[in-house]
Assembly symmetry: C2
Homo-oligomer: 156 residues x 2
DNA sequence: ATACAAGTTGAAGTCGACTTCAACGCAAGG
DNA sequence: CCTTGCGTTGAAGTCGACTTCAACTTGTAT
């Protein structure tokens, strides 16, 4: 598959694919002339990367988890500790969600006065922020829909 | 309270407080000479900001939600739609968590072969990333522990 | 053969949320 | 008086994950 095919199928822009390769997350090799040719497995690899990102791993962290071939070679304990982190984050976000809903519903003129809100605020502040794990779902504004992709983004 | 007191009590660095003020998220006024003096309510305001950030609002979004006095003045529907987004994110993260746990537990030599993993991968990739809402908990590497003071840590 | 779309590269730009820096102000204490 | 030390400012730097750009080279269709 050439770069634009991968881009179309996965929704990951070509520039990102090149970037990933430069960062060592992807291997393409077997170039046809100057052009990259990717093995079909690249789609799996991109899925892995997406999963890793969604879990809050940085690209560099993800990199050390992939063998050159793109297979998972991970330290299982690292993985499950990350899963725990994600779970913690989930709990914090649920608190946040409750906080938002309360703020939306509570008719109190000043939320600062409402004990419920104050508690949520404390939880959200000391909890949710204090030990925030990672940039979580950062830059992923659009793009990346590895599962399938009708039409991709225009790249450079 | 002067800036360093606020910093100590909240854990938010002075530079951040100045930054927030410059961005219009905080009001300090009543300066003593050249020095900022904050009303005690600033702590509440910082809590609100922390909550907003944890919910995935950008500082600018948070700004429009606070009246100059630091009170919530929010468009309630905006709030609850944000709460929904957070809920969606929570669901996605739960998928991610399951994916991580599976990867940690599954003995298959190649995860690419495991149907369970493939499914999780697809979900994580097309779901979790595709419509990620906001930078969520971005830069908050350390700092910000509004709920507790400089010493002694209790609960979480 | 020639045009043109698509690929390649390294370098630089972007974005958000801060941090760091240099240069300077000012009040209190030795 | 003069140092110490916190405070102030605007400007610039940082970080991660990309994107965009300029300048080319290639593959393919006509």
């Amino acid at each position: 598959m050439d770069i634009s095919q991968v881009a179309k199928q996965t929704g990951v822009p070509a520039s990102t694919l090149r970037y990933y390769e430069k960062q060592g997350l992807l291997v393409s090799l077997n170039r046809q002339g100057a052009r990259r040719m990717f093995a079909p497995s690249v789609i799996q690899q991109l899925g892995l990367i997406a999963l890793g990102q969604a879990a809050g791993f940085s690209l560099q962290e993800i990199k050390v988890m992939l063998t050159p071939g793109g297979r998972v070679k991970i330290d299982r304990s690292l993985l499950s500790s990350k899963a725990q982190e994600v779970d913690i984050l989930v709990k914090q976000l649920q608190v946040v969600s409750r906080g938002l809903r309360h703020a939306a519903a509570c008719p109190a003129p000043s939320h600062a006065e409402c004990p419920t809100f104050r508690r949520l605020l404390r939880d959200a502040a000391s909890g949710a922020l204090r030990q925030a794990p990672k940039p979580l779902v950062a830059g992923a504004k659009r793009a990346s829909s590895v599962g399938r992709a009708s039409r991709a983004r225009k790249d450079e």
